[in-house]
Amino acid sequence: MKIIAVTACPTGIAHTYMAADALIKSAHKHNVQIKVETQGAMGIENQLTSYDINHADKILIVSDIEIEQFSRFDLKNIIRVSIEDVLLDVEKVFLIHCRKR
């Protein structure tokens, strides 16, 4: 399964990168191929390309604020998750949202 994710938080120095790390570390356990774009204090890093977006099965928006360039995404595939949920139990996030049905 191919997942793309965007993480962002109000200050951009903690949660953005923590959530990205948590997703990347856990993805392989769930047989998920993941690419995570971070929108933090260092700006947009690891930016998702249109190829990534078009080939993704799901799009995870992990943020407590509005993200930059939201209009890139197909609304049907978007799943919004709070940063706290990812930090609290990232496995649960993968189990609920990133399973092939």
């Binding site: 949660h15 923590m18 790390d21």
Partner: protein, 258 residues
């Protein structure tokens, strides 16, 4: 039962070979359980086992702790500290060292790429989240804490800054400071942080300038990212000595753990 720690940095890779036998022999003389934790590499081994030092796999630059739990833990720490001080860079080498801005001068391995101010307080009474944020703001900006406190509260309104069970990391970009400032409040009684993760015992406030440099951002993000690694959060929560705690924080801010 209280846990006692000896925190140290590895300077010489051969020190393990020189100390392994002595530490193993000493560990068996105490009733307490003694473990060595290589925090950098997320390894833990019981010192009473002869292969403990091999299992810990100490490499130059690694940050380690020997933890002792049991009825004679304090005595065990007292004895083992001397051996560690002989072969490794002991952090809390003197009883009157404080949480201070000078720790990097004494232990250059802990120096950060950008100048950082440090503050610490131990809660002497049960605190609410608001009181704790107020305390942190007063530590960082004693002349005008109100503005900083409001900034902390506004950040909390977006979402709780409890980032792992037991630890909150209130963080803001703030106009009134030029350098990264870290303020820590440790509390034995739990503070309700209004988070799904539960109450907190350690709050680490990070204030960085509104126009931070690349180094300042990296320093701050290193700390937050390392908090999810291995035993980092547990070690921060268990470490009661303020100098050791500062050393851990500085180490986690200076690099990303493997």
């Amino acid at each position: 039962m209280n846990e006692y720690q000896i925190t140290f940095l590895v300077e010489d890779i051969n020190a393990s070979a020189r100390t392994a036998k002595t530490l193993h022999r000493l560990a068996k003389k105490f009733k307490s359980t003694l473990c060595i934790i290589n925090i950098t590499r997320n390894r833990k081994a019981e010192l009473s086992k002869s292969v403990a030092m091999l299992q810990a796999g100490l490499v130059k630059g690694d940050l380690c702790q020997i933890i002792v739990v049991g009825i004679d833990a304090e005595l065990a720490c007292f004895v083992i500290k001397n051996i560690i001080a002989e072969h490794y860079r002991l952090i809390g080498a003197c009883i009157n060292y404080q949480f201070s801005n000078q720790l990097a001068d004494r232990v250059p391995e802990l120096s950060l790429p950008s100048k950082t101010q440090w503050h610490y307080a131990k809660a002497q009474t049960k605190l609410t989240k608001f009181e704790c944020l107020k305390g942190l703001a007063q530590l960082i900006h004693p002349e005008h804490p109100e503005e900083l406190m409001i900034a902390f509260i506004k950040r909390e309104e977006y979402s709780s800054t409890c980032i792992t069970p037991g630890i909150a990391l209130p963080h803001v970009m703030f106009d009134g400071i030029d350098h990264i400032t870290v303020a820590v409040i440790a509390s034995d009684t739990p503070i309700d942080w209004m988070s799904k993760m539960g109450a907190v015992h350690l709050t680490i406030a990070l204030a960085i300038p509104t126009k931070p440099t690349h180094e300042q951002i990296l320093t701050a993000t290193n700390l937050s990212r390392n908090l999810l690694c291995g035993q980092v959060a547990e070690r921060l929560l268990m470490t009661k000595n303020s100098v050791d705690l500062q050393a851990l924080l500085m180490y986690f801010m200076s690099r990303l753990l493997p």
